[in-house]
């Protein structure tokens, strides 16, 4: 099931708008989109997955939505209401629409709603269910009829018929703003504007006190047809990200400008006219979408959300909001042949996994869902120039800082380095970066580096290879072709730097790498390791213990085992804590998926954490070691006393080529040991401990990191101290 979440398919069938008026005529369906939701050209995803065989999953374009926000300012005129003062273009297209409209109404005389019975159930029956009663006021409404799910959040007027509390206007709107989770600066900002200066010359006579609206209820219903196994997840996504937010925005507009009622009246009158004229559905919809900002907003939400894009809608000249169902940007799980495949091109990595990075999650920063490590950086999904242009078009208070940040950002520099270089605060940078990531402008990645190893991702979208070759060649005419680049990244893993012929080529090669990463062609191959304790080590430690016990027994009259253990522990805990505790504890780490952390937290005080672990491991899962077999130390941070002695012994027996080297190895062993957890990438040691990458790597190799050869050494003996493996 985990994999199902990675496929984009919001399974949206239609959006309906139901309103109820005071006049007692009952609820009515004011608007629905698309005009004929069940028309056969919409193929159901359920059917598609049934007869698959030759069909490959449809390729999803990565440059989706990049142009969406351009429409942010696209305002639509409400009839005899707000004069659209900004946009000439929209007026021109209005005129054209008018011409077309005339033609359309002439060419076909018969009018009947081609969608009836709506959704196979009929408009009347549906409406009777979609005005569910006050018990659902501001609650999630979820009704399934056969395989369709009707999802919404109905909002009712107050008992006294008002849409907001009479006097407490200030607190009310503050409430709303607080609830406005769209986290989009645009939305909340325009709300503030509205508060300050509502200069709309709308038909509603602006009154200091809220007026009684004719409207008693409205309900925007999202009709979905998710497959049974995905039902819960799809519905939750749609509700949390779209349905709920849309309902809140409408509520705000309704309580401030009687917006929903006006729009509903407008749509009703258009419908009536057209049914009198018996004009075709298409003409009616053209007019509704043109004249009603709500209708066009609903249409846009439907079109974009069902295409998994960002829907930026404009309700009035002052209020524009964007909705989206945030896509999954990375996964660490590669499904087997028996499972549904991942969305091709999805970034495959453990770098964003909570598990692999849990060791430096900062407890105080756990609030947001989207944590960004200061050791990460941004990889833009389109060219910075284009993003800059879009941002300038959209405006908003973030535009300037965003532009500033984008100009400074570089996929090879971590947020921390950018912050130092650009003199911006790290917090600001992370905030801006989160904004860009949330709105699909960028993904957060560990900075690209020539010492890192990159490989062709098993999830690379090989079906797009031919088209990708063309765009690659246009972008990098002087570089080796895309197939050749991929070819050189799919053999025996080598650091990326070895592909770069000279330092003159470095920049261009980084650009290529960023390009390859962005479209999921390559992913970083990260190295992980465990310490292997060979039977010889176990034996040596045992013998040493015996000796010491004997000497203890002779020298003092104390029980042997206990003081021995604690004597040994003291240096261990000291050495483990001796790294650079501040870096460890303070560095934050991104986690898109929150998973319970399997890895223990290194506290700044190594002594404490280890001593508490003593009791737990002692009592519970002390594994029985076979003295004749080797074993792995699975979590050096919470090593048992016995394991600690082994680790110490191994550290003390490290030998380098020279004496200085030996001393160095033994010095760094305790620092490095805590990364040998199998889930902590060794590439991070340098970043976290502030050491040179080359030095760390050389030291690791001297400690026994062996990624190329066989398991046994030249003499046919299995002596490795580190068991290392690589994956994304």
């Amino acid at each position: 099931m985990a994999t199902a979440a990675t496929s984009l398919n919001p399974s949206l069938v239609a959006i309906l708008l139901v309103t109820q008026a005071r006049t007692g005529s009952g609820a009515q369906l004011v608007f629905h989109y698309p005009p004929d939701p069940l028309s056969p050209d919409r193929d159901s995803p359920a059917l598609r997955s049934i007869d698959d065989d030759e069909e490959e999953s449809s390729s999803s374009d990565s440059e989706e939505s990049s142009s969406e926000e351009e429409f942010n300012l696209f305002t639509r005129r409400v009839q005899n209401g707000v004069e659209s003062n900004s946009d000439n273009r929209s007026q021109r297209s209005d005129d054209e629409d008018d011409d077309q409209l005339v033609k359309k109404t002439q060419d076909d005389g018969s009018w009947k709603p081609q969608w009836e019975p709506l959704l196979g159930l009929g408009e009347d029956g549906l409406v009777s269910l979609l005005a569910p009663g006050r018990a659902w006021h501001k609650r999630k409404f979820e009704l399934g009829i056969n395989n369709l799910t009707f999802l919404g959040r109905p909002v009712y007027a107050r008992e006294d018929g008002l849409w907001r509390k009479p006097r407490s206007k200030k607190s009310r709107s503050a409430d709303e703003e607080g609830a406005q989770q769209s986290s989009d600066a645009l939305a909340s900002d325009s709300e503030k504007d509205q508060e300050v200066e509502p200069n709309t010359k709308s038909k509603t006579k602006r009154q200091p006190e809220p007026s009684k609206s004719q409207l008693t209820m409205f309900h925007a219903v999202f009709v979905m047809d998710p497959s049974p196994l995905e039902q819960t997840m799809r519905v939750k996504d749609m509700y949390d990200n779209v349905a709920k937010k849309f309902s809140k925005v409408l509520k705000w507009e309704q309580s401030h400008h009687d917006y929903v009622w006006e729009q509903s009246e407008l749509l009703h009158s258009i419908k009536t006219t057209h049914s009198h004229q018996q004009s075709p559905t298409k003409a009616m919809y053209t007019e509704m979408l043109r004249r009603s900002s709500l209708a066009s907003a609903i249409a846009k939400v439907f079109d974009n959300i069902s295409a998994s894009k960002i829907a930026a809608i404009t309700l009035s000249s002052k209020l524009s909001v964007s909705f989206q169902i945030p896509p999954i940007t990375s996964t660490s799980y590669l499904p087997s042949l028996n499972e549904p495949p991942l969305e091709p091109g999805l970034w495959l990595t453990t770098a964003t996994d909570a598990v692999s990075t849990a060791s430096d999650l900062d407890a105080t920063s756990m609030g947001g869902a989207l944590q960004l490590s200061k050791n990460f950086t941004l990889l833009f999904k389109s060219s910075p120039q284009k993003i800059l242009k879009d941002i300038q078009t959209a405006g908003g208070p973030l535009a300037l800082p965003l532009a500033n940040f984008i100009a400074k950002a570089n996929p090879t520099k971590s947020f921390y380095k950018i912050s130092v270089a650009a003199q911006m605060s790290l917090g600001d940078i992370q905030h801006l970066a989160r904004h860009l990531v949330y709105w699909r402008r960028a993904v957060a990645i560990p900075p690209l580096h020539q010492r890192n190893t990159y490989m062709v991702s098993p999830n690379a979208n090989i079906n797009k290879l031919v088209s990708a070759c063309k765009s690659y060649e246009a972008t990098f005419p002087m570089m080796p072709s895309l197939p050749k680049m991929l070819n050189s990244l799919c053999g025996t893993p080598v650091p990326y730097g070895t592909l770069i012929p000279s330092s003159d080529h470095k920049e261009e090669y980084y650009r290529v790498l960023a390009w390859l990463m962005r479209d999921g062609w390559v992913t970083q191959l990260r190295t992980f390791a465990y310490v292997r304790v060979s039977p010889e080590v176990k034996k040596a430690v045992r013998e040493r213990e015996k000796e010491e016990a004997n000497s203890n027994r002779t020298n003092r009259n104390k029980p042997p085992a206990d003081p021995n253990g604690s004597d040994r522990d003291v240096p261990v805990s000291q050495s483990f804590g001796s790294g650079t505790p501040t870096t460890v504890a303070s560095s934050l780490v991104s986690s898109f998926k929150q998973r319970p952390s399997l890895v223990s937290r290194p506290s700044s005080d190594g002594r404490q954490s280890i001593s508490t672990d003593h009791t737990s491991t002692h009592g519970m899962q002390q594994p029985k070691h076979n003295p004749k077999a080797a074993s792995l130390v699975l979590s050096p941070q919470r090593a048992s006393p016995e394991e600690s002695r082994w680790l110490d012994y191994i550290g003390s027996t490290l030998v380098g080529a020279t004496e200085i080297e030996t001393a160095e190895l033994r010095q760094y062993w305790p620092m490095f040991v805590k990364y040998f957890t199998g889930s902590e990438a060794l590439e991070r040691i340098a970043v976290r401990e502030g050491l040179k990458r080359k030095f760390v790597w050389d030291t690791l190799v001297k400690m026994g990191l062996n990624l190329d050869g066989g398991v046994e050494d030249d003499k046919g003996e299995n002596k490795g101290i580190l068991v290392a493996f690589r994956h994304w």
Binding site: G125, G144, P493
Partner: protein, 524 residues
């Protein structure tokens, strides 16, 4: 306790929608005792012995809808009665019978299930329960006015006890058989909702996860019976179809069927040229799990494969080499878990570890090390050469397959793309083209890639040496032109070899020859 309650409601011509019976009693507030909750949201609830789950008045319009909406399966999440009420889901199937027998000529009724938190249970499996119940009740009503003649007081009588039994049995046994009268019995079983199986490709290799011979009977589908003996974890679907003399499409359907019920797994074609590498699950599986290491030892130790020698796995180049002996060994340990459990019982732990060529046992960590040393760019053959001593008594196909089955290894597939620009029929003017392409290539390689250029030059020299004689070139060209169709980078070598019935070695040789043009191989 997935079913929290079952209730039977109908439209009463005098009282409107009402609940006739409910199990357990008092779990649904009826209009009598919760006039308050009609107000602004749920307010107070009278404390009742079995705490109420929902209020009927809020949902009655969905349970007893207007006539036009009857005959549809309705699922509804009722608003919580109090903030502490656990989330529930009401599944119902309202039906409307029209007959002059009834007052107002119609009878609307509904048997509804109240399920516990829909996020935690398989709701879909209960949908068929509701449907079946509704249809049975309709036929009972049509036969004998079973429902409309029911005069038993609320929460008693035949219908009430039927609901009671249904709920208890489904909750406890996931099935029920409730006799109603001589003619009718309510037989219901919950079936889990399984995802549709993924597509089965001709080059996939199915492997049983169950002992199929204990399940099969002669009434099974004919194709299925034919292909079963050839499913062994070695043969690809295409090969199975050929061996069983069965249609490839039907074979694929059969495998898909087995896959749906979880009877088979899909693997890739094992060969010594194949490349495998660890996945992100490596640390959490084989490395941490000592039991998995033991399981692996038992599965791969050739000492435990009676009669089958290591040579059973033929180094077949690209094809799936497999003889009779091989098939036998595969079937012996198909169920990795089941087989290892039985083995584990009667063998000392010390005995399970395979021995090296020198006769020393390989421990669990060594197995982890062997898996860890598989990586991108390293074929199984090369890996074997590096670790020949340790692998002396290990069935390599099983070793690798074990990792793939568990999911901590993945197969790195090869793809090829023809990078030379120009028409697809370059095969004819091949030499001219090749020269042009050579120039083109050189100009490109100016930029940097020394390694690649050398590689390619070396292979070009080699090609020049064994340029094919003119005689056999016709057949060869035919095959080449077929191969060219696969060279858009979207077809893995397993697919090409299976479709064209050639070995991987032959394919690679042909790709290297200059007849096809410049081809780049990409591993993924």
């Amino acid at each position: 306790m997935s079913i929290k309650a079952i209730f039977y409601s109908k439209f009463d011509p005098h009282e409107g929608p009402k609940i006739v019976h409910q199990v357990p009693e008092g779990c649904i507030l009826t209009s009598g005792d919760n006039a308050a909750s009609n107000g602004d949201g749920p307010t107070t609830t009278t404390p009742s012995p079995s705490s109420p789950l929902l209020s009927f008045s809020t949902i009655s319009r969905f349970v007893i809808p207007r006539q036009s909406l009857c005959g549809n399966l309705m699922t509804l999440t009722p608003p919580p009665l109090t903030p502490n009420t656990p989330p529930t889901l009401v599944l119902s199937y309202p039906l409307c019978l029209t007959s002059a027998h009834y007052p107002r000529n119609e009878f609307i009724f509904n048997f509804a299930l109240v399920l516990s938190d829909p996020a935690t249970i398989d709701v879909t499996s209960y949908k068929s329960v509701v449907k079946k119940l509704a249809h049975l009740m309709r036929s009972l009503e049509e036969q004998s006015y079973f429902l409309s003649d029911d005069t038993a007081p609320a929460n008693s009588g035949k219908i009430y006890s039927l609901c009671e039994m249904l709920m208890e049995d489904l909750n406890d046994y996931c099935e029920c058989m409730v006799p109603i009268d001589e003619l009718n019995t309510l037989n219901i079983k919950l079936f889990p909702t399984l995802p549709n199986p993924v597509g089965v490709k001709p080059w996939y290799v199915p492997l049983f996860t169950v002992r199929i011979e204990t399940m099969v009977d002669e009434n099974w589908d004919l194709t299925m019976l034919r292909i079963l003996p050839y499913i062994n974890g070695v043969n690809s679907v295409t090969r199975i179809a050929a061996l069983a003399d069965a249609d490839i499409k039907l074979t694929k359907k059969c495998v898909k069927h087995l896959l749906y019920y979880g009877c088979v797994l899909l693997l890739d074609i094992f060969s010594f040229n194949a490349i495998y590498a660890p996945t992100a699950d490596f640390a959490n599986m084989i490395a941490k799990d000592v039991d998995m290491q033991k399981e692996c030892a038992r599965y791969v130790n050739t000492a435990f494969a009676p009669g089958a020698q290591e040579e059973a796995i033929i180094d077949g180049g690209g094809g799936a080499g497999g003889g009779a002996a091989d098939r036998r060994t595969s079937q012996g340990g198909l169920m990795t878990t089941a087989a290892s459990l039985t083995l584990g019982d009667d063998r000392e732990d010390d005995e399970i570890w395979p021995l090296t060529a020198k006769g020393e046992p390989i421990d669990g960590v060594a197995i982890v090390q062997l898996f860890a040393s598989l990586r991108q760019g390293l074929t199984v053959r090369e890996w074997y050469a590096q670790n020949a001593n340790m692998l002396a008594n290990i069935d390599m196909r099983r070793f690798v397959t074990f990792g793939v089955i568990k999911g901590f290894l993945y197969r790195v597939h090869r793809y090829a793309i023809r990078t030379r620009k120009g028409g697809p029929h370059a095969l004819h003017g091949q030499y001219v083209d090749a020269d042009a392409e050579h120039v083109d290539y050189l100009s490109r390689s100016m930029s940097s890639e020394r390694d690649l250029a050398e590689d390619s030059l070396r292979s070009r020299k080699k090609q020049a040496r064994d340029r094919p004689g003119a005689g056999k070139s016709h057949d060869s060209n035919l095959l080449n032109s077929k191969i060219v169709e696969y060279l858009d980078g979207t077809h893995c070598f397993d697919e090409i070899c299976t479709d064209l019935e050639i070995s991987e070695k032959e394919l690679i040789d042909r790709l290297k020859s200059r007849e096809i043009g410049e081809v780049t191989i990409i591993c993924r």
